[in-house]
Symmetry: C2
Subunit: 389 residues, 2 copies
C-alpha cells in the first residue's frame, strides 16, 4: 500500500473574535488530505486534518518540502511491520530530512497537520476510531469515554455587555457543559474582575471557570492579576505571560496557589521540558495545553507525554488546545484531562460531530473510523472537495 | 515618501555541504526587494536582503501576511519624524499585527528579511553605509572598522582526507584570515579529534580555532566531546546540544572551561534571555550568535542587545550568524565581537563585496550606501532582476 497524493488548501476562518492580544480577521487554516491506494466502497481511503486555530495556513512549507519528501520516499519505507498500513513515525522521519535543529514553529504546524492526517488514514484503514488506535498503541487499550469537555469562550466583542457575557455562559451550561473559560486582559483589571464575578454568578463556583490572558501581561500586570484572581480559586489561569518567560511563570507559581496553564504556544518537546524544569510548573496541579497538530502531531505528542512522565506529570494534567475532533480523539486515546470546545466560533473548524451531545460536561465518543470528520457535514464538504471524493 | 512595492523570490543555494546533522541540497533562501518612490539617478531607491542560510525560503508568509499589512498601512504611519525616510520599527509593528504571541520561528525569518531590506533602503535614502546608520542610532556614532572576521569552514564532504582539510585551512590563512571554525560530530570522537589536531598544526593555536557540532549531541556525547576538547583551549565550542536545552548548556558550562557558543537557532529575545538565565552562559566569556535577518531584523537585535546588557553581557560577546554583508554591517555598527565568513560556499549568498580584502583577520568596510550588495556582482544580479532595475 502507498500514499498516492497529499493535498492542501488554505481556508479563511472568517472569525470576528478578539482576545486580549489579537483578532482573528485574517486567520486561515490549512486543510490537508492524505490519499492512499487502499480502496473502501470504491473510494480511496483518505486521511484528513487541519492546522487547528491561531496559526496561519502553511501550504508553502508542505508543498516545497514535506509533501515532496514523503512522495520521494520508497513506499515500503513508510509502512508498518504488518505491511498493511502506514507508519506515522516513519512518515514523520521523512518529513524531517534536511531540516535544521530548532526553529520548530516554522515547520511543526505544517508537519503536524500532515502527520495527524496520516493517523486519520491509518485508523480508517484499520477500520477503527482514532481514539481506539491511539489507546491500543499508547495507553494499554484504555479509552476514556465520555471525555470531559469545557468551553473556550467568553471572548470580547464590540458592544458586549456583562449581560451578553452571562447569556453566553448560560447557553453553554444549557448545552450540557459544566465548565467554561473566559478571556481576561482585554479590559482594565477592575472591569475584568466585574465580568468574572458576573460569570461566576452564572456558573456557580470557581472550579467551573478558567480565565485566559493569551500571553498578554508583562510582569507587573501578571502579578496584579494573579493577586486579584487568587481568591476566586479558579479552575486555572491560562497564559498569564509570554509563553517562553519561564522565569515569570516560576514567580507566578510561587505566589498564585490555584492552577496555572499554558502550552498552546510551545511547539517542541524541549520547550515543554523547559517549562516544567524552569517554569515552576507543579505536576498534577498546573495544566499543559500543547496543540498536537501544531506541534509535529501525535507521535511527538506521545514523546512529550513520556518526557513529562519522567518529570512526574500525570496525563490528566494535559488538556490539548483546539476545540475539534482531533484533540477530542487524543484526549480519549491518551487519557488526558479533557478537551476544549468552541461551540459556534471558528466557523466550520470549531466543533465536534453534528450528532455529538454534551451530557454532564462530557462528550460520548462516536465509533466512526478515523478522527470522525465525516460526521461534521460542513467541514467534511471542504475536505471531500479537496480530496475529489 | 512611501514604499511602492515589496517583492520576494526563492533561490536555491545549490550547496552540496553537510554538517554533522543535515545537508543543504534542498536549501533555498528568500531574496527581498523593498522598492520606494525616492528616486536617485533616475531609479527608485530599493532595499535588499536575503534570509541568510540554514532556513528555507518563506515567500508565502510574506505574500499572505507581512507584505499586505505594510502596503495597507497609511504611508505616513511608516515614516520617521523627519518625514524624509522610513522608520523600520514602525514597519515591524505593522507586520506584527494579528500575529499570535510565541511561535516566533514561523514568522521571524520572513519578517526579519523584509525588515533588513527596509534598513538597506533607509541607509540608501540617507546616502550612508548601513553600518554608519546603525552606529549613529545605537552606538553613539562609533563604527568598528575593520571588523574581525573568521571563516565558518571545515565542512564534511565525501572522500575528504585530513590533508584536504588542512589545505582548506591553509587557503583561509593565505587569504588573510586569522581564525577558522570547523565542523565536529559528523565522525566518531577519536576521528574528529584527529581532524582537529591536524587543523591545529595549520592554524597554530587553539585560540585561532572554533568547532561547531550543529546541535547534534545528546547529553552523554556532548559531555564526552567537552571532556576531549577542553585541553585544546579552543576559541569556542559551538552548538554542542539542542539549542533550547538550557539545562544541558548549564551542565556543560560547569565542566567546560573554554567558551561555549550558540544562538543561530534562537529566534526571539525571550529565547536568548532564557539562555543567559538558565543555560549557565558566562557574560564576557561565552558567545551568542543570533542571526539578525532570521530573528525579526535589526530593531529586534538592538532590543536583544539591551536585554543582554541588563544581564551584564558586553556586545563583544556577540558574533552574528551568517557570513554575509548584512551581518558584517551589524558587527561594525553595533560594535560586536566580529563576523563570520563563508568564502566559496553557499554560492552567491556566502560572501562579502567583490573588492573586500581580509588583512590580519579583519575586513575594512566599504563606503557604499546601504548594506553594499551593489558591490557583489553575482548576488546583485539576482536582486536587480527582482526589482526590475
Amino acid at each position: 500500500m502507498r500514499i498516492v497524493d497529499i493535498r492542501e488548501t488554505a481556508i479563511p476562518l472568517k472569525s470576528k473574535l478578539a482576545n486580549s492580544s489579537f483578532d482573528f480577521t485574517e486567520m486561515t487554516t490549512s486543510v490537508v488530505a492524505v490519499i492512499t491506494d487502499v480502496m473502501r466502497d470504491g473510494k480511496p481511503v483518505t486521511g484528513f486534518a487541519f492546522n487547528s486555530t491561531g496559526r496561519y495556513a502553511c501550504g508553502e512549507q508542505m508543498r516545497a518540502r514535506f509533501i515532496p519528501r514523503i512522495m520521494a520516499a520508497a513506499p515500503d519505507s513508510l509502512i508498518d511491520d504488518s505491511g498493511d498500513n502506514l507508519d506515522p513515525a516513519k512518515v514523520l522521519t521523512q518529513m524531517l530530512r534536511r531540516e535544521k535543529i530548532g526553529g520548530d514553529a516554522e515547520r511543526s504546524i505544517a508537519i503536524g497537520t500532515i502527520e495527524v492526517a496520516v493517523w486519520d488514514a491509518v485508523a480508517k484503514i484499520a477500520d477503527k476510531p482514532l481514539h481506539r488506535v491511539i489507546a491500543d498503541r499508547f495507553s494499554g487499550g484504555k479509552v476514556t469515554d465520555p471525555v470531559f469537555c469545557y468551553v473556550g469562550g467568553g471572548w470580547y466583542w464590540p458592544g458586549q455587555t456583562i449581560k451578553d457575557l452571562q447569556d453566553e455562559m448560560r447557553r453553554h451550561l444549557d448545552a450540557g457543559y459544566a465548565m467554561v473559560k473566559m478571556k481576561v486582559g482585554g479590559l482594565p483589571l477592575d472591569e475584568d474582575v466585574r465580568r468574572l464575578e458576573a460569570v461566576l454568578q452564572v456558573v456557580g463556583s470557581g472550579d467551573r471557570l478558567a480565565v485566559d490572558a493569551n500571553g498578554k501581561f508583562m510582569r507587573d500586570e501578571a502579578l496584579a492579576y494573579a493577586k486579584a484572581l487568587a481568591p476566586f480559586k479558579l479552575r486555572w489561569f491560562e497564559e498569564p505571560c509570554h509563553p517562553l518567560d519561564y522565569a515569570l511563570f516560576a514567580e507566578l507559581a510561587n505566589v498564585y496557589a490555584p492552577p496555572l496553564a499554558t502550552g498552546e504556544n510551545l511547539y517542541s518537546t524541549q520547550d515543554v521540558e523547559n517549562l516544567v524544569r524552569f517554569g515552576g510548573f507543579r505536576p498534577g496541579h498546573d495544566i499543559i495545553q500543547v496543540d498536537p497538530p501544531q506541534a509535529y502531531g501525535i507521535c511527538q505528542y506521545a514523546r512529550t507525554l513520556d518526557m513529562l512522565a519522567k518529570h512526574g506529570w500525570p496525563r490528566t494534567s494535559l488538556f490539548p488546545h483546539g476545540g475539534n475532533q482531533m484533540s477530542l480523539s487524543m484526549a480519549a486515546g491518551f487519557g488526558l484531562g479533557g478537551a476544549e470546545s468552541y461551540p459556534g466560533v471558528f466557523g466550520d473548524f470549531g466543533g465536534f460531530a453534528d450528532d455529538a451531545r454534551v451530557v454532564n460536561g462530557a462528550i460520548a465518543l462516536s465509533d466512526r473510523p478515523g478522527i470522525g470528520f465525516e460526521g461534521q457535514a460542513n467541514l467534511y464538504r471542504i475536505m471531500r472537495e479537496l480530496a475529489g471524493l
